[in-house]
């Protein structure tokens, strides 16, 4: 048995230079300090992404991306296909957990100032990955073609349409027409299984490569002292795997006791039911738009809010260049405060959506 493994190793090593990669891997070290708990979240994002790819590919086998068959195909998966309920529920639950973990990963990197150069590119690719995964969520949500997702999509794209000049064009491109229709399912499906995965592979590849090349960032102040470092292989990865096992169990429990609902099939001629809201990770923006007054000076409130988000996002993305102090390895509590305000804003707005739905 051992002989066989050795022979196989020699075969692949001579072609793929596995031993040299192995040498590099052995050298990879992870600093251990009181905040190193947050290092796990990147790996968790990756693990959850793999789960999404696998369950997504499996769902592709039975899902039909047309207005007439989408809902029925999901119903078929949930009731007739063996373990179809499990694959589908895992995909839906993991999507939400993944986006939550991405936020945790992003904020922990922010507060640890891991964005400071030379890791600014890691931060920027990460920011785009956040946008891509939110787009994954938005496009995937429509695919079961049920009442909630149909109207949430309509409301969401209506908001996009309000942007001056480019709004209508963007909305039309995204929807494949003037309104949410059969063409929209096809387009969202195209985005969800082809375009977004393509960009993810590229950006994620760059993101992970950068982490490998540059190593893990240490909090400011610690980089001077000699910090305890553990090897990535096998110490850190085993702990990583332990975390993954716990998450896997959590997903299993959620899927068995709270399987994802089918809902009612969308009727494009029906009137919008009350209380339509998007998935939770969009609700902070949604509620902001609801609260903003209709007019601020001479500007329309909604458009002002949308521009606010765009500018806010831009600032967030460019933080590595704005936070000069951290770039010089000096603590920047001002930016920590800024990050805290943004975090609280998101949390409060999200909570408000559910606690006071009738704003």
């Amino acid at each position: 048995m051992k002989n066989l493994f050795q022979k196989l190793f020699v075969y692949f090593d001579s072609r793929l230079m596995l031993s040299s990669i192995g040498e590099l891997a052995k050298k990879k070290k992870v600093p251990e300090h009181k905040h190193s708990f947050w290092y796990y979240f990147g790996g968790i994002c990756l693990f959850l992404f793999f789960i999404q790819v696998i369950t997504g590919v499996l769902l592709l086998l039975y899902y039909k991306p047309t207005m007439d068959s989408a809902y029925e195909s999901i119903q078929f998966i949930m009731s007739q296909v063996k373990f179809g309920w499990l694959i589908r529920s895992v995909h839906s639950w993991t999507a939400n957990i993944l986006i939550g973990v991405i936020f945790i990963h992003m904020f922990s990197a922010f507060f640890m100032k891991a964005y400071r150069p030379p890791r600014d590119l890691t931060w920027i690719t990460g920011f785009f990955l956040l946008l891509i995964f939110m787009a994954f969520g938005f496009s995937g949500y429509l695919l079961p073609w049920n009442e909630l997702s149909f109207f949430a999509t309509r409301v969401g794209t209506d908001i996009t349409g309000t942007l001056p000049l480019i709004g209508k064009a963007i909305k039309s491109f995204v929807l494949g027409g003037p309104d949410v229709s059969g063409a929209t399912i096809t387009r969202f499906f195209w985005l969800h299984v082809a375009i977004l995965p393509l960009f993810t592979v590229i950006l994620l590849g760059v993101h992970i490569l950068l982490v490998q090349i540059l190593g893990m960032s240490k909090p400011i102040g610690l980089s001077e002292k000699k910090v305890k470092e553990v090897p990535f292989f096998p110490n850190f990865i085993l702990k990583d795997a332990l975390g993954w096992m716990l998450i896997l169990t959590l997903i299993g429990v959620l899927c068995v006791f709270f399987p994802w609902e089918l809902g009612k099939k969308a009727d494009i001629f029906a009137t919008t039911p009350l209380g339509i809201k998007p998935e939770w990770y969009f609700t902070f923006m949604f509620t902001t738009l609801k609260i903003v007054p209709a007019h601020v000076l001479f500007l329309e409130g909604e458009i002002l809010a949308i521009f606010g988000f765009m500018i806010g996002g831009l600032i967030w993305m460019l933080v590595p260049y704005l936070d000069r102090r951290s770039g010089k390895e000096i603590k920047s509590p001002g930016f920590s405060l800024f990050g805290l305000i943004i975090l609280l804003y998101i949390v409060v707005m999200t909570a408000l959506t559910y606690l006071h739905p009738n704003l």
Partner: protein, 418 residues
């Protein structure tokens, strides 16, 4: 030369203008309306209301009914020999009928309209009493209005289905007004509690019956005992046919009991409940049948069979609900259950035949469906159990792996202290 030319133009203009005024029909009508608009409330109202009137749409005017000369500004000159004024209450039917019973005249405006309303009216209770001199009864204007008359198909019309109960109720619910007539004043109130009123007012189902559907439009008269069944059968033919085939038909005819009304009432027709069947409290069967009669036994059996069918259906439904709550997809099975519901409706309808055989046959059919559903429900519950067991197994393996990882981590950390 030029001055004369101008004068001629002016003169011709005046002639043309006066022709316009003389020939244009509305210009004629405007004469009446213009004056009446300036008057007090009582005389102003007809002129205002007439703007919406259906007669106005057809090009008719004040003078068409009231005569007079609209071109005159002076009141006395306007009320010339042709002026008819407002008719007396007792003359209103003849007044309206002077056009509406004339088929040649009505054909010019709307050939679809009936022309027998006046004829029918005289056969109605209202018409008969009016011809005897009672002017308290309803005449045309009470139900259709006088000047703002709308087509009955217009939702704001007094004779639009959901306005009819209150319109009839204006008199028929007024205790003071109805003193001296030997009929009750609770019909409208009773009707409003009925299933027909619910369908009309809540569900906006315009096919639901209102007063005129059972009592007639212009020939309004309470249906007699023998004819009330025909009234109900217009919309409930199946129940009626089954009843006619049953032993009750002959019995009711002989005893002169009104068919549907005996069990279901006339105005306060409530949604029938299964408690009306059988021999328990609230059952209608025991109102006639003694406890030692064969009919009593049949009634009891029918009720018992229906109850057992319903409880089996409920059991199957409960199973599905439980499985659904546990996350198992049962929408296809629920579809099959719908068939059982349809059969239940058919069984309930069959009670009008009072035939135990026919009812049992239908219930048998339904049992088959329910058995299928119950089986599927059981399977769904088994699936729910299987999922939980599967989760435990998988979690066990994952925990073992986690434990193994933990041990391995400890071992490695002990080996290479850093």
């Amino acid at each position: 030369m030029k001055k004369r030319y101008k004068k001629n133009i002016l003169f011709e203009l005046c002639v043309y203008l006066s022709f316009i005024f003389i020939l244009h029909p509305n210009a004629l009508a405007d004469g009446c309306v213009d004056c009446h608009r300036e008057m007090d409330e009582g005389l102003k109202a007809p002129a205002e209301a007439f703007q919406m009137d259906v007669h106005q749409k057809y090009g008719l005017s004040c003078t068409t009914c009231h005569g007079g000369d609209p071109g005159q500004e002076d009141i006395d000159l306007a009320k010339d020999d042709s002026f008819k004024g407002a008719p007396l209450r007792k003359d209103i039917p003849k007044f309206c009928g002077s056009c509406h019973s004339d088929s040649l005249y009505m054909r010019r405006y709307n050939p679809n309209l009936r022309v027998d309303q006046l004829e029918l009216y005289w056969t109605s209770q209202h018409g008969q009493l009016l011809s005897k001199g009672d002017t308290k009864v309803a005449v045309c204007t009470d139900c259709h209005g006088a000047h703002g008359i709308l087509e009955s198909s217009h939702p704001k019309s007094l004779s639009f289905p959901w306005n009819i109960p209150d319109m009839c109720g204006k008199c028929h619910s007024d205790k003071e007004y109805m003193k001296g007539y030997s009929i009750s004043v609770t019909q409208i109130e009773d009707y409003k509690q009925s299933v027909h009123a619910h369908a009309l007012f809540e569900k906006k189902d315009l096919s639901a019956p209102v007063c005129n559907d059972c009592h007639g439009n212009h020939g309004a008269i309470p249906p007699e005992v023998s004819s009330i069944a025909f009234v109900c059968r217009q919309c409930h033919p199946s129940a009626g046919e089954l009843f006619s085939e049953s032993p009750h038909k002959a019995a009711y005819d002989e005893l002169e009991i009104s068919e549907c009304e005996a069990c279901h009432g006339n105005h306060k027709i409530l949604p029938p409940s299964d408690e009306m069947l059988g021999t328990g409290e609230g059952a209608v069967c025991i109102e006639c049948h003694d406890s030692d009669s064969e009919a009593y036994a049949v009634a009891a059996t029918i009720k018992q069979k229906l109850d057992s069918f319903k409880s089996k259906m409920q059991d199957a439904e409960d199973k599905l609900e439980r499985a659904d709550r546990q996350g198992v997809e049962v929408s296809e099975v629920k579809f099959r259950l719908q068939e059982a519901h349809t059969i239940l409706i058919q069984v309930r309808n069959l009670t009008h035949s009072f035939s135990l055989d026919r009812i049992e046959e239908k219930i048998e059919e339904g049992q088959g469906v329910i058995e299928e559903v119950a089986e599927a429900g059981e399977a769904a519950l088994r699936e729910a159990k299987f999922r939980k067991r599967g989760l435990i197994v998988a979690t066990l393996f994952i925990f073992l792996l986690a434990l193994a990882l933990l041990l391995k981590i400890r071992q490695i950390e002990k080996q290479s202290p850093q």
